[in-house]
């Protein structure tokens, strides 16, 4: 009964909390202020608590569904837990070096795993994708293919660190920079469009609720403007430090 009541209250207040924290965070576009600070601290606390809860829950579900089934798995799980506990030795002045054991295991394992795939995904597949004929069916395709090959080669040369960009390399380096800037421009536009879509989504979310949400915006804006006005007046009255 009580839990149902709490759930209904939270459901009813949910949109208000959303609007309030959204506007508090947006207020940073004006300047850093106490509203933003409040939202920031709340977000930090909630996110940290959520991370701890989520990880503990994951650990428990792993134990229940996978690692408690056979004695070998129980032993392996216990070993992993023990290795994990070594992290806490970071707080011991005498045995702090023990935390490096789980760290080295984690870093070594994942770097080894990445080597297995990276040489294909970021090297050989890219090279194979550039194997395109310089003479294509249409003049436009021919031009396109030649341009792609030149761009890839010049950009690769740009990242050759043990050669100074002098002589012919100076010109390939300039061409590579223009190539990359063209790519970055396209990526910038693409990402900004996505962000605009997100902004519009949030604006619609706010506008679709009763206009009383505007009261939150008015309170935040008014307090910011008034506090700024008071600060400017106070500063105008105070004598300049170091002055006569």
């Amino acid at each position: 009964m009580v839990t149902d009541w709490i759930a209904s209250v939270i459901t009813a207040l949910g949109p208000w909390f959303t609007a309030f924290f959204l506007l508090c965070i947006f207020s940073f576009t004006y300047k850093e202020n106490p509203w933003f600070r409040f939202a920031e601290a709340t977000y930090l606390g909630v996110a940290t608590a959520y991370t701890i809860g989520f990880n503990l829950d994951w650990l428990l579900s792993q134990w229940r569904t996978v690692w408690s089934l056979t004695s070998t798995k129980i032993m392996l799980f216990s070993l992993a837990l023990l290795v994990g506990l070594l992290w806490y030795f970071r707080f011991s002045k005498k045995y702090f070096w023990l935390y490096r054991i789980p760290l080295s295991i984690a870093v070594g394992t994942y770097i080894g795993l990445s080597l297995r795939t990276m040489v294909f995904a970021q090297f050989l597949h890219q090279i194979r994708a550039t194997f395109i004929p310089l003479v294509a069916k249409t003049p436009l395709d021919t031009f396109n293919n030649i341009l792609i090959v030149i761009m890839v080669l010049t950009v690769l040369l740009y990242f050759y660190f043990t050669l100074e960009h002098r002589g012919p390399l100076k010109y390939t380096s300039i061409f590579a920079r223009y190539t990359m800037m063209a790519g970055f421009g396209a990526a910038y536009g693409d990402t900004v469009m996505t962000r605009m879509a997100l902004l519009i989504g949030q604006a619609r979310n706010l506008l679709s609720h009763p206009p009383s949400f505007a009261s939150i915006a008015i309170v935040i804006l008014t307090t910011l403007l008034v506090s700024d006005y008071l600060r400017v007046r106070r500063e105008a009255r105070e004598p300049i430090k170091g002055g006569p």
Binding site: T51, T130, L163
Partner: protein, 306 residues
């Protein structure tokens, strides 16, 4: 299918092992290992898998080049690195922070070190942190390090501690104050980073590592409070934001040579020369591949798919 009976027979063969595999002597164990490896290779899992041989050979070539050039550099033949303005600007940023008496922020991105794809960027960022901590301590600039990943916090602390010790001022370093774990949540981290930077009126902000949507939030905040900013990432979609909002931008691969470039460590520079040989291999393969494909032959494509 894996031939279990054959393996069982071989492991328990009286000719091969006198008693049992557990009590076999080292020589017998070696034979057992070879036989097991052979059976596994023949019956179940091939040692050389089709489609992965070219990758193995490429890896061996690059690793061999890195080892060779590192060895050469250790013996005094250090290759010269070309100038990278973004990395030269780091000293300028530290100097500015020291002169203004305002703090310098340095972040190594938000990816975990253990992340298979993005981890190397974090390691590159930590390489820069090591250098910056030492320089900040030397010049008396206040250093702040926002951290997103729990695993990285102790490493960042240790790097800073070492830097301060190298500069002869370990007492100036306060780990809990200067290296702060903010939040594992992406935007929890970025909102706190933004607020912290603003409240402290940072003089400089260095961001080198893997960044995603928070890149522009951080860089834009730094620009609004007038910091000198150096940003670098290998995440293609985030480089444009650093190029647009930072004073100096490091593009992609440039962040991986930051540690070697700043520390001027001979062996690290040697390893960079080894990596350059990998790029040279790429250039040669592309040129050959394009020529072959234009001539109507796909032999190189097949070799690379081997």
């Amino acid at each position: 299918m894996f031939n279990r009976n054959l393996l069982f027979y071989l492991l328990h063969s009286p000719d091969l092992v006198q008693s049992s595999p557990e009590r076999a002597n080292p020589r017998e164990k070696f034979y057992l290992f070879i036989i097991t490896f052979y059976i596994l290779g023949k019956e179940n899992m091939s040692v050389l898998q089709s489609g992965r041989v070219s990758g193995l050979l490429t890896l061996i070539y690059i690793i061999a080049m890195v080892i060779y050039f590192t060895y050469r550099a250790a013996r005094g033949k250090v290759p010269r690195l070309r100038r990278i303005p973004g990395l030269d600007a780091i000293d300028e940023a530290i100097g500015r922070a020291a002169e203004m008496g305002r703090p310098l922020f340095i972040s190594h991105g938000i990816a975990n070190m253990t992340d298979a794809t993005y981890g190397p960027q974090t390691i590159a960022g930590l390489g820069v942190l090591s250098y910056v901590a030492e320089k900040c301590s030397e010049l008396g600039a206040r250093l702040y390090v926002p951290v997103r990943q729990l695993v990285i916090w102790p490493i960042a602390v240790e790097l800073c501690e070492t830097g301060y010790k190298k500069a002869g001022r370990p007492e100036d370093f306060n780990p809990t104050e200067q290296v702060r774990y903010l939040s594992s949540d992406q935007f929890g981290f970025s909102s706190n980073y933004m607020g912290w930077m603003w409240r402290e009126r940072a003089a400089a902000n260095i961001m080198i590592g893997a960044y995603w949507a928070e890149s522009l939030q951080l860089a834009e905040t730094g620009a609004r409070i007038g910091t000198i900013q150096v940003g670098g990432t290998a995440n293609i979609h985030q480089i444009p934001f650093f190029v647009a909002a930072c004073d100096y931008a490091l593009i992609g691969e440039e962040i991986f040579c930051a540690g070697a470039y700043l520390s001027k460590d001979a062996e690290m520079i040697g390893s960079l020369a080894g990596q350059d040989m990998g790029k040279l291999l790429g250039i040669v393969l592309i040129l050959l591949g394009v020529i072959f494909v234009t001539a109507g032959s796909d032999i190189l494509t097949k070799i690379l798919s081997w």
